[in-house]
């Protein structure tokens, strides 16, 4: 139930933040050199009408990535579809003709790897944003905002690198690890990703929390509720 609430709360918050907070309440998504992760990389600025949030152009990638993620699939099939509600109990008779991921629509979960490839694009820009935020108005600074952006980029990198599909693509698809020099390199990468993959659930939750938190921090900073504590040389 915690899972259902957590994932649900994130979706509601991200939609509110992406679509409503800026256009309706006039709270900017960028302030003092910090850009909200929901909007990175920023595209279409100056072309889009005021009511159209540029987050829409980006957010479908991480949302698609998480929706088709093996861990989240497990979590929401159990929590939202009661399929199964728990292990070794009878299921409520909500549906007949079960075919799950063998048929449309859930057969589309097989496209997870496409979202994986795409997810590396915003991930690159998140590192870039974090790095750029160290230099603001012609001065260097180490603000709490930068630390949050770096932390977020780190957790999202952990999440993406612990992905089951990546583990497969890097080495899991091989049958012989020792056959050539190339496969031996892939084997050692696969071993490393396997280690990360064992904690995929933890990466998933921590990074989900960190994205939401980074956005919230920047939004609240923009409302002037508090100042960004920073070290300046």
């Amino acid at each position: 139930m915690l899972v259902a609430a957590g994932f649900g709360a994130f979706i509601v918050y991200s939609l509110f933040s992406a679509l409503i907070w800026g256009p309706v309440f006039n709270v900017p998504y960028e302030t003092q050199g910090y850009l909200s992760p929901f909007f990175s990389p920023l595209i279409g600025q100056g072309i889009l009408p005021w009511w159209f949030s540029p987050a829409v152009l980006i957010l479908w990638i991480p949302l698609g990535f998480r929706t088709t993620c093996y861990y989240y699939r497990k979590a929401y099939y159990r929590a939202y579809f009661a399929d199964p509600p728990a292990c070794a109990v009878g299921e409520p008779k909500l549906h007949t003709g079960y075919a799950m991921e063998a048929r449309f629509p859930f057969i589309l979960q097989n496209l997870h790897r496409v979202f994986l490839y795409l997810a590396f694009i915003p991930l690159f820009f998140l590192w870039l944003d974090a790095a750029l935020s160290l230099h603001h108005d012609g001065h260097w600074r180490l603000g709490l905002g930068s630390a949050i952006l770096f932390g977020n980029a780190f957790l999202l990198t952990g999440y993406s690198f612990s992905c089951h599909s990546l583990r497969h693509l890097v080495g899991g698809r091989l049958d012989c690890f020792s056959c050539t020099r190339r496969t031996r390199v892939r084997y050692s990468l696969w071993r490393r990703l396997t280690g990360l993959n064992g904690r995929h659930m933890q990466w998933a939750w921590l990074s989900l929390f960190s994205v939401g938190f980074a956005d919230l921090y920047i939004r609240l900073l923009a409302t002037g509720l508090f100042a960004d504590p920073a070290l300046r040389p």
Binding site: P84, A99, M100, A102, R113, S165, R173, D175
Partner: protein, 260 residues
């Protein structure tokens, strides 16, 4: 030590079933199977129980204990709260024979549908070579004791009419071990996608939770198979690539063969 209370399922197909309670004297180190043997010896000689090794290695003694699929020979009485009633039932996914014994023969039929290990015909066995790193994944799957607890707990087999559409976690483990074997040349992916029903698994991991051999069934066998199937049938980039190169489907991976 206080006595343990066991509530045991009694019944045969076609007869109304009931639970029968027994008070069993407890000794140090006793497992549920010991308690069932005590009941057989002292209270109910007609109680049907299947077991063989009493060492969690033969996979015969599978039941459901307090609603959780488990081996009776591995479940220690000391793991239950003092005074807690221990409910022992047969596995619900398989047809009942009597009391705690079920008919698991469906699993053997499924097993026969999987193409067995197929080494290259032209390499004599004396020349087979592979390294530890090639076989580690397969070794995990070889630990399976065929207790069928994973088949019992899997909601696809338990709660849906899918017995002939889905081979179940145990056999996805077996198939994964064959598919990943460096000397195997067979291609089971079409079978696994269609008749095997790999898509029916929705990776909810109950099988992994109950496996007494702690095989990471979902993460190490099923998800990698789903990914291999996605490689072949659902990856748009690979499809385009294959079209450009004019190959329909990739040839099965070559065996490790005689590399020293």
């Amino acid at each position: 030590m206080p006595d343990a209370t066991l509530r045991v399922y009694r019944g045969t197909p076609g007869q109304p079933a009931h639970f029968q309670d027994f008070q069993v004297p407890v000794d140090e180190g006793m497992v549920v199977l010991d308690a069932l043997h005590w009941i057989q010896a002292h209270r109910a000689p007609d109680l049907a129980v299947r077991w063989n090794c009493k060492a969690a290695k033969c996979g015969s003694c599978s039941t459901e204990i307090n609603g959780k699929p488990a081996l009776t020979c591995k479940a220690r009485l000391s793991d239950f709260a003092p005074g807690e009633t221990i409910v022992v039932e047969p596995m619900r996914t398989f047809p009942l024979i009597r009391d705690l014994v079920t008919d698991v023969s469906w699993n053997y039929e499924v097993n026969r549908r999987i193409q067995p290990f197929t080494p290259p015909a032209d390499v004599p066995q004396s020349e087979w070579r592979w390294q530890q790193q090639d076989i580690e994944r397969v070794q995990e799957f070889r630990k399976c004791i065929e207790c069928f607890l994973c088949q019992d707990v899997c909601h696809v087999l338990r709660s849906h009419e899918t017995d002939n559409l889905f081979i179940g976690p145990r056999f996805l483990v077996r198939a994964a071990g064959l598919e990943m074997h460096p000397m195997d040349t067979a291609d089971r992916l079409p079978f696994l996608k269609d008749e095997g029903g790999t898509g029916y698994c929705n990776i909810t991991k109950c099988c992994t939770e109950v496996c007494p051999e702690h095989i990471k069934i979902t993460d190490n066998a099923i998800i990698p198979l789903k990914e291999r199937i996605a490689d072949r049938y659902y990856d748009p980039f690979r499809m385009i690539w294959r079209r450009l190169r004019g190959t329909k489907a990739p040839a099965p991976a070559p065996a490790a063969t005689t590399k020293a």
